[in-house]
Amino acid sequence: MACGPSRDGFSRAVRPEKFASVVTTPGQPMLVATDVHRHFEGMRAVDGVSIEVPRGQITGLIGPNGAGKSTFLAVLAGTLPATSGTITFEGQDITSMPAYMRARRGLVRTFQLPSEFARLTVIENLLVAAQDNRGDSLFGALMGKRYWIADERRLVERARGLLSRFGMTAKESDYAGTMSGGQKRLIEIMRALMLKPRLLLLDEPMSGVHPKIVLEIQHYLEALRAEGLTILMVEHELHMVERLCDTVVVMAQGKVIGSGTMASLRRQREIVDAYLVG
């Protein structure tokens, strides 16, 4: 593993998830949003946002409450349609593509509030996200267990690899709804990783999480970046953003008001006034 703290459940010799689908073409952004708007009955939640998400990096999206960050993330993921503007992912226009298709193409989001499947076990939460299971269709289901059991076994092993890596092996058979807030965040991240994402959209992954788990999540994200995964992350914890993000985009009142490294942003007066005070 390229980047991992010496900690039980993380540094052990588990084969890391491969993000083989990531085409490492330096300089070419993985996702480009151009003049994206999202209006709610006249209220401009996202008002002409244009950003580029560089490949293989962690990009931070920060801004005060109500800046439109989560709405923008939802528009990128397709869970909210854009009022206008264009979004291209890996060079393809995905503006009118439904959310589930975007996810299947590797543009995967997590949510601001925990969104585990409560009455599924922890490992089932991971397995349900896998795209390559022959039993995950009506036809496959009706064909019977023999038709899909090999896929299922392979995916169980993959899910167990992730559980081991994220230190949650012991929770495998527990209902996800009984997990703590931090564990639910980890489940969401693992679930997203089961899809073999190309770009992970994280909506406040540290929100409401115990400081110990915050540190764990930070290490996991660093390791994922080292493996080539591209991440766009909405986050309020600025010291975490500073530590993790290569590039940071600042939003306020639905617009982008600046971007760059945290150090460079701290030198821009209007951004400091708008958001970075203190």
């Binding site: 599924l120 996200a129 795209q131 299971n133 039993g135 009506l138 496959g140 289901a141 209902y175």
Partner: protein, 323 residues
Amino acid sequence: MNTYYAANLLIYAGVDIIACLSLNLVFGVSGIVNFSFIVFQAVGAYTTAVLSLPPDSTSGYDFQHYIGGFNLPFPIPWIGGALAGGLLAIPVGFVVLRKLRSDYQAIALLVMSVIANTVITNADKFLNGAAGLALVPQPLSTQVDPSTDAYYYLYVGITAVAVVIVLIVANRIVNSPYGRSLRAMRERELAATAIGKNPVAMKMTVFIVGGVIAGLSGAILVGFIALWAPSVWLYPETIILFAAVIVGGKGNNIGAILGALLVPVGFEEVTRFIPPIGPVGLIPALQWVAIGLLIIGFLWFRPDGVRPESRRVFEGGPAREVR
């Protein structure tokens, strides 16, 4: 207990088990509150009836008016009834399941149930209106005399085979990765979308499968009782089946079977023996009150039912922690 009574009880049990397995698939596993379930059973029954009946101009049948009358042999009417249930699910699902939020879906389906019953009741020339269809030919009645014990045994046997087939289908769906996806959709539709599931397609698919099974249950019932009228598929009948699935255990096929045996069969059969007291209609009215209390009681004290949805533990996994 005479043979007819026993056969009657067993066939109703079979029909209710099939109906509850269908409702469990749609509601218990997939989270679609199909308050129009009984309409799918009814369309299966009506289709079976008109496929079995001779034309309404035939002597002895000319006291009623209905479309069709194809006089087809068993099992074609049953297959037709099942297919009709599935076909009905396509336009209904297309209207209700694509855009509406789940609570509005439930209301729309309930309204549809009321409208469908009202339309069929008032459209005299279509399916004989409120009087309904009578003298529906029973399956294999030309080979075996339907008034004999042998025929009752035969019908119970055919019903049992249908129950087994439906149970196998339901088990394969529920216990497969596809069933897991359906349960994920039930838990959080938006999160399921975000991991690449297409909830509309999944809902439509399971709604059609549920419609086919419901249609089959109607086909079996009309084949036995030989008549079908709007009074037997009023919307409260759906509530009884919901009560069965809730009592038995949502999401669990064994629970659905248990619920079918406890509520529509057991509960209704037991209350039939209560001596008539008070004004006429008091006991049947109290039955409905009891069904309502049963639902509320279970949702309050035992929301997972008698046989809750089972936890899936994979081979080689760690022992579950005791909480």
